[in-house]
Symmetry: C2
Subunit: 562 residues, 2 copies
């Protein structure tokens, strides 16, 4: 198989090269629909990230345009997203006080770093790294992160400054300080949640967030509830984005780098999953490298306009696609509408209650907790279920950044451990199919008299070479009369230096014990390495055969396969 | 294949259950030979570990007996060993001043921790963990560690307190301070090295270390060279081992734990490699769990007699075997002779020059640097050569503990990355062998007209599921007329949830494109998971066939295999 070269990911997106005018109306409609959703969500996720609401609006302007200019997905809606906002808060609040000027600089620096990493990896065509995040890890992580996010919003919903240092502490604090709840704040929040849920039931594109923002602001303004202790967003300064280099110090960069890597991966993973799901419906392709470059560009822009990290989010992208988005122009329309909001409408948010924004976040993340998935995974393959559970618990208990790393290590670790104890099978001839089959699964398959047939189902390498040896020794110990052994390595698609050494030593050993041995089914890559190990032609001709039948024929043994 | 249960690793070693009296004479001889080597080496490795020489003698008494009581190797000689001593120094000198009472406590605590870990892992039958240390990692690490050890001895050889904070600094310091060399010290060291090398040439069991110790001590005493600036071992207190609990604090335990884990693994790995090599000559088996338990017991004892971590060493074990050791009794004899030395002979070491001990260490580790191995590995399989090089450079430059961890991560990482981009092959019929073969390797194999045969050579799991999809799509893009596709998964010995989902989605996709598809060669473990995924019997009967021939027959396509 030859790998086709994909086009360089930095030429403009297809819709910029040739725009079909028939797409204009649906693009305008979709852009408007997403903007109506994005303005409240952007402010809500900004608060989640420890940023002022205006930063959420800024992040929803030029970064979106930057993605649209390069990205390959037609309908992906980039902007502030819950999990990336939480990761931002987790990293930056350890270095500076949320709301301080330093905090803003660090958040912008983080966006810049994420941008550099994603953009660089895109140019290096490293989009495939996303494949190392298994679905079980992503699902377990997302469910746990959604719970952490939900708990972080509780303080705004009940009007009590709950301890946010650990999810468990938040829960305990919420229970023990139940008497401090601010009833009006809670009422606003609960009504908001009810309206959002009801609106979502009515129609998927129902502008619930806009409705609760308008209603909540109107109620607070009409009854002067901010004087009664309902916390509001307060003054949101008007103004368009301005460019400024965050000018980070080297220690800050180093402190933010691990989180930047995590956000670069997690943000990309979330985004590409959404983009692929949308593309599949349209029977289109998503280019991972182009997506990485596009998201990187978006984050670079977010970094220089004093915003914070962004990525492609699930809910807004779904709405975008459903509203008929045909190209990146929809995103440009969205960005323009947010710019208009920034320029003229920010005074309207002064009386917007924080409880309403919390309600928006809570309803948005509630759908991310998926407890059916672990049950499904457990039934299908217990190891995948265990990976889900480990990731979920680690994210919830240890922290969201270590959580996903532990998940990745667990999923890859289980794969490596599995390869160290590979599947092996003694074979017999299954007449109906005309194939050599595992005697344990096909007990009535015919054994070849006087010959043991052993199939080894894994790449032979350092972690399982000793296992092969032990397996052969146990087989011979259990059947000491064995005079002939056929070792079927058809399932070994690779071999390393330890594997070569073990195999050759095993052959010498078997010869000394008087057990005639054949090695069959060697694949090309394995033959190549054995050739380089000076497994000379003469020796090889005595031992290696293309198939079990060839080996038995060479020994002159009658067998059922003929 | 059923796995046979191995006996519980804590019943006494075979030689304790039934001792053959004919083994007595060779055991006595071997025990004496090793003791003659161990007394000077024990003191030298104690200095390397930052311990007083007497601790090296203590470590060569009861810990050896503890191993002999449980271990499964006849000839393994346990005691202080260069690499483990260096690891001990690296960890403990960061927490306390070498030579201080606190340092001694910490070193004993480290031995205790190593003992608990090894003993526990032995009881849990986790001896197989050693398989995850690939030969390339072990070889690269050993070569680099030997260089680090050699450089650490330079200060004793030239009589200048060289900077030991980093191997490169030691080299620079040695070059720039060449004028400060103490000529008498250097002369003693060089003569020692010459005698050791000459002795080794004469006979493998030549008691070189004893000879240079006796000669060096005599020369220093006769000419009063300690007054002339030749540094000696000084007063070595007499006395037998006493039991005392090191009583570590929890922070100390936590600080030592990572190193304890490293020593537990590295020590075990070195020991089992030696034990296996010796057992292979005698056509015997080594039980890894029993070895772990035995080494653990030895380190537990080392911890409570104020010594430091031990393991089975290469050179003394080889001498032990060559001198005729038949059982653990040889080790007991060695331990008794060291006890006698401790009780009566320590005053004799007062004038023993440190340069002689440095010479002993230098000659012992010089054989560990193996630069032929990386060349061999590189030729055989460049990935294995790269693993060697990464481990070697990381150990030398970053440090010996991170070095081995980086090596292990590299070796496993390369395996995982390989599995993410598996070998795939388009197949054709190779008439001479009567087998389906890779068309790239067998260009004259016969293609089946109108059918693409694609073999995927790896377990299908999250890291390569996207690769399978891309491969099929590229194949169809290159041959848009393809109407039938046979996907040979005979090389896939496992499948995970992502693999199942990808495979089923691919089949739906191909059906919608009008490409008739067959999946052949599914192995038992893969069929099990697919069954649990509700791949219903009806659907399966349409798509899955035992072999390529079955699929082609079902389609009614003439093919060369009949």
């Amino acid at each position: 198989m030859t790998r086709t070269r994909r086009p360089f990911p930095l030429n403009p997106a297809p819709w910029l090269r040739r725009y079909d005018r028939r797409d204009l109306a649906p693009d305008l409609m979709a852009g408007l629909t997403v903007a109506v959703m994005l303005v409240p969500q952007g402010m809500a996720y900004a608060l989640l990230a420890g940023m002022p609401p205006v930063a959420g609006l800024l992040a929803s302007t030029l970064p979106i345009v930057a993605y649209a200019a390069v990205g390959s997905s037609r309908a992906l809606a980039v902007g502030p997203v819950a999990i990336v906002s939480l990761l931002t808060f987790e990293a930056v609040h350890r270095l500076a006080e949320p709301g301080s000027a330093e905090y803003l600089t660090l958040a912008a620096t983080l966006a810049l770093l994420v941008g550099v990493l994603q953009f660089g990896l895109g140019l290096l065509r490293s989009g495939v790294v996303v494949n190392f995040l298994s679905h079980a890890v992503v699902s377990g992580f997302t469910s746990a992160a959604a719970i952490v996010i939900g708990l972080s919003q509780l303080r705004h919903l009940v009007g009590v400054p709950l301890d946010g240092s650990h999810p468990l502490r938040t829960v305990v604090d919420a229970v023990t300080r139940v008497g401090e709840i601010h009833p009006t704040t809670l009422a606003i929040g609960l009504v908001g949640i009810a309206l959002l849920l009801a609106g979502r039931r009515l129609h998927r594109r129902f502008p619930g967030p806009l409705l609760v923002v308008v209603l909540g602001t109107a109620v607070v303004a009409a009854f002067g509830l901010d004087a009664a202790g309902v916390r509001t967003v307060g003054e949101v300064p008007a103004g368009l984005p301005t460019f400024s280099w965050p000018a980070p110090t080297l220690p800050d960069v180093l402190a933010l780098l691990p989180t930047a890597l995590t956000i670069a991966f997690v943000g990309f993973m979330e985004s590409i999953a959404v983009a692929r799901a949308l593309a599949a419906k349209e029977r289109e392709q998503v280019d991972p490298d182009r997506e990485l470059a596009g998201l990187g560009l978006a984050n670079l822009v977010a970094g220089v306009i004093a915003a914070f990290p962004v990525t492609g989010g699930f809910s807004r992208s779904a709405v975008n696609a459903q509203a008929g988005a045909r190209s990146g122009l929809a995103s440009v329309v969205t960005a323009l509408l947010v710019l208009v909001t920034l320029a003229f409408l920010t005074p309207a948010f002064r009386d917007l209650p924080q409880a309403v924004l919390a309600a928006i976040v809570l309803v948005a993340v509630s759908g991310l907790v998926d407890l059916a998935e672990p049950r499904h995974l457990w039934r299908l393959r217990p190891k995948d279920g265990a990976t889900w559970l480990v990731t979920f618990v680690a994210t919830l208990v240890i922290g969201i950044e270590p959580g996903i790393l532990i998940g990745v290590a667990t999923s890859l670790g289980l794969f490596v451990v599995r390869s160290a104890f590979p599947h092996v099978a003694r074979l017999g001839w299954q007449r109906d199919e005309g194939l050599w089959r595992n005697l344990r699964r096909y007990p009535d398959a015919a054994v070849v008299a006087g010959v043991e047939l052993l199939r080894f189902d894994a790449a032979l390498y350092f972690a399982n070479a000793a296992f092969l040896r032990t397996t052969v020794e146990e087989l011979l110990a259990a059947r000491p009369d064995t005079q002939r052994l056929v070792l079927d390595l058809g399932g070994a698609h690779d071999i390393d230096a330890v594997g070569v050494e073990t195999l050759l030593a095993l052959l010498v050993d078997l010869e000394q014990r008087g057990v005639a041995t054949a090695v069959v089914g060697l694949k090309g890559p394995v033959r190549d390495v054995l050739d380089r190990a000076h497994w000379n032609a003469e020796r090889r001709a005595q031992v290696a055969w293309p198939s079990i039948e060839h080996a038995l024929d060479a020994w002159g043994i009658a067998h059922p396969a003929r």
